[in-house]
Amino acid sequence: MTHSIITSRRRLIKGGLAAAAVLASPTVLRAQGQRELSMLTWAGHADPDVIGAFEEEHNVRIRAKEYVGGDQMLAQIAQSPAGTYDVVLADAEYVVQLQQAGFIEPLAAEDYPFDDFFPEFQNFRGHWFDGEPYAVFLRFGFLGLSHNRAAMSEAEARSYRSMWDSQHEGRIGHFDWHLPNLGALSLLNGNASPFDLDEQHWTELTDTMMSLRPQVRGFYDYGGMLSALRSGEVAAIPGIGDWITGVLARDGADVTTTIPEEGGLQWTESLSIGAGSKNQDLARTFIQYMMSPEGQVKTATLKAYPAMIPTKAGWARLNDEQPGEAQRQNMVLNGPNALDEIRAGRIRLRELPVQQSLETWNDAWTRYKNA
């Protein structure tokens, strides 16, 4: 059968045209009523595995503008006319800046499953203003000391101090962003609020950082960290977490993240509706989709970087459908899990510096890199 189609060119063309017409017609019909939803987001979130079902169901095409880093996100939104972005995915610490600059719309609390959140994540800091939510907590993860097990054992990784060991000289990597790095070292210095430092503690922190410089192999972006940790070129990277090692572990690399005794940080990503959006109904539906058990499982297992999720229903579904991944990400329902770390007070939220300006922290980081 196949043979005869290939041998007769005319028949092949005819058949091909007919097939194309059949395949295209529903698309053409559907495209007529199709809407667009624009989203400003960290790279990786517009994965078809995640948004495909939503696009299909609501006949929407999601146009994602990806950014790397909160500063770039703020610049992007500041330079665009109001209403350019319907949905904004931002790190929680930047939600305050978005709200104060008037870049995001207030939300109606009853539209989202806040009641289904674990209590730790309800009324999340920096998301509610005058009793109104401006962002919906989508996913989170812990940051500690990520290490290649062959080069640094879990026992060693129980303290950030191990990075100064002579055996790791020239073997410490850095994610090239000041906030998580300084945060982790601030925890090592024993600061209970790692981002709220007076002049003296800030000076101590920069001194601690500078003393680590001789141990440093390099400063990496996302891809650079993946290859450096996998190959063992670096033994450990502070201030990152499962969002890197989870990706590598899925591929079978012998890497993990340990939360040291001095504590770990929590990163959080949240969804908001852009100010002046003309598709607010659709944006709301999209956020609802991402907060549904289905969307939560999809974002928990995002290819670019996995994360934990805040809803109980999401946990239940993940344990149901992918018990292995629930186990790996420490989200098991019956038994000790990631929430215990928060409840034990070992996790601090990653925040913007309180007493210094962001610029001061930036400068310290640039100086460190150039030392």
Binding site: H174, E233, N362, N370
Partner: protein
């Protein structure tokens, strides 16, 4: 018409000279336009931006010296400057020395036909994206990569070569070596052969011919090769970021850091202007030296 008619031949000549001028103008006109479009305007914009300010992450026209004050006040600025300058200068010298034997062979040993083919090979790398070439070097230089596996097979410890000066140099060479090869070969191939024969006939040894005849005669071209290698390495960001990886913080990395952190385009513009100024001075001095009359 009572005026005496202009002889036809004359008018034809005038028409011809007019046509010739128009024809020449046609060729000359693009030069100032291109210069304006690709040099003067961008440079002017860069200078202007260096006096602008950033308000709420937005670039805002202004007339402030704050970016200049900030950058010139950075305590590590000059250390970074000299690091960048020194690294690219040593790369340029090393690349020139590495290229020279090959260029010599292409100019004096190969037949013109072979030379064309060999130069073709030298140009071939430009058919691939530079970024791709740098990324593929990572495969060679990384721990467990090609080079470290070979070293391990011979009993070495086979550490990663990434984030070493060697890796950075490889990046610079990937970018500049083909250009230097071409410039050097052209320079050497254009050395007057009769001078070489004359020196040989007068009993000069090959070493003396090389150092006292060929090198002085090819000096402008060889110096240009060195200069291009320096220019390319100095402004190089990709291999500094992906092969040198932060162990060697250079000015191009500082430029991107300034933009990334708080969208400080004005500060980045100041660093770029410093780089352009130092490049211009270097290029000027080098060219003066290259074309200096023999004293």
């Amino acid at each position: 018409m009572t005026f005496p008619a202009i002889p036809a031949r004359n008018s034809g000549r005038r028409y011809q000279s007019l046509f010739q001028r128009a024809w020449q103008a046609l060729w000359v006109l693009p030069l100032p336009v291109w210069l304006l479009l690709f040099f003067a305007v961008p440079l002017g914009l860069l200078v202007a931006i260096s006096f602008w300010s950033v308000v709420n992450y937005r670039l805002t026209p202004d007339a402030t010296l704050s970016a200049w004050r900030y950058v010139l006040g950075l305590d590590f600025l000059w250390a970074s400057f000299w690091r960048s300058y020194g690294l690219s200068l040593s790369s340029a010298v090393a690349i020139s020395l590495l290229a020279f034997p090959a260029s010599y062979a292409m100019a004096f040993v190969a037949t013109p036909r072979q030379r064309l083919i060999l130069l073709g090979f030298a140009i071939a790398p430009f058919f691939t994206s530079y970024l791709v070439r740098i990324y593929s070097w990572q495969v060679f230089l990384a721990e467990g990569g090609v080079i470290s596996s070979i070293v391990q097979a011979f009993g070495g410890n086979g550490e990663s070569l990434l984030n070493t000066y060697f890796a950075l140099f490889i990046g610079h060479a990937t970018l500049a070596l083909p250009v230097v090869l071409i410039l050097q070969t052209i320079a050497l191939a254009n050395v007057d052969r009769t001078e070489i024969s004359a020196a040989a006939n007068l009993g000069a040894r090959p070493g003396a011919i090389l150092f006292r005849v060929i090198l002085p005669a090819a000096r402008p071209g060889l110096t240009l090769g060195l200069l291009f290698a320096f220019l390319l390495s100095y402004a190089e960001f990709v291999s500094a970021a992906y092969l040198g990886g932060g162990t060697f913080q250079t000015l191009p990395i500082l430029v991107t850091d300034l933009v990334r952190a708080g969208q400080q385009w004005p500060r980045a513009a100041v660093v770029s202007l410093l780089m352009i100024a130092s490049l211009l001075v270097t290029a000027f001095v080098t060219v003066l030296w290259a074309y200096r009359e023999k004293g």
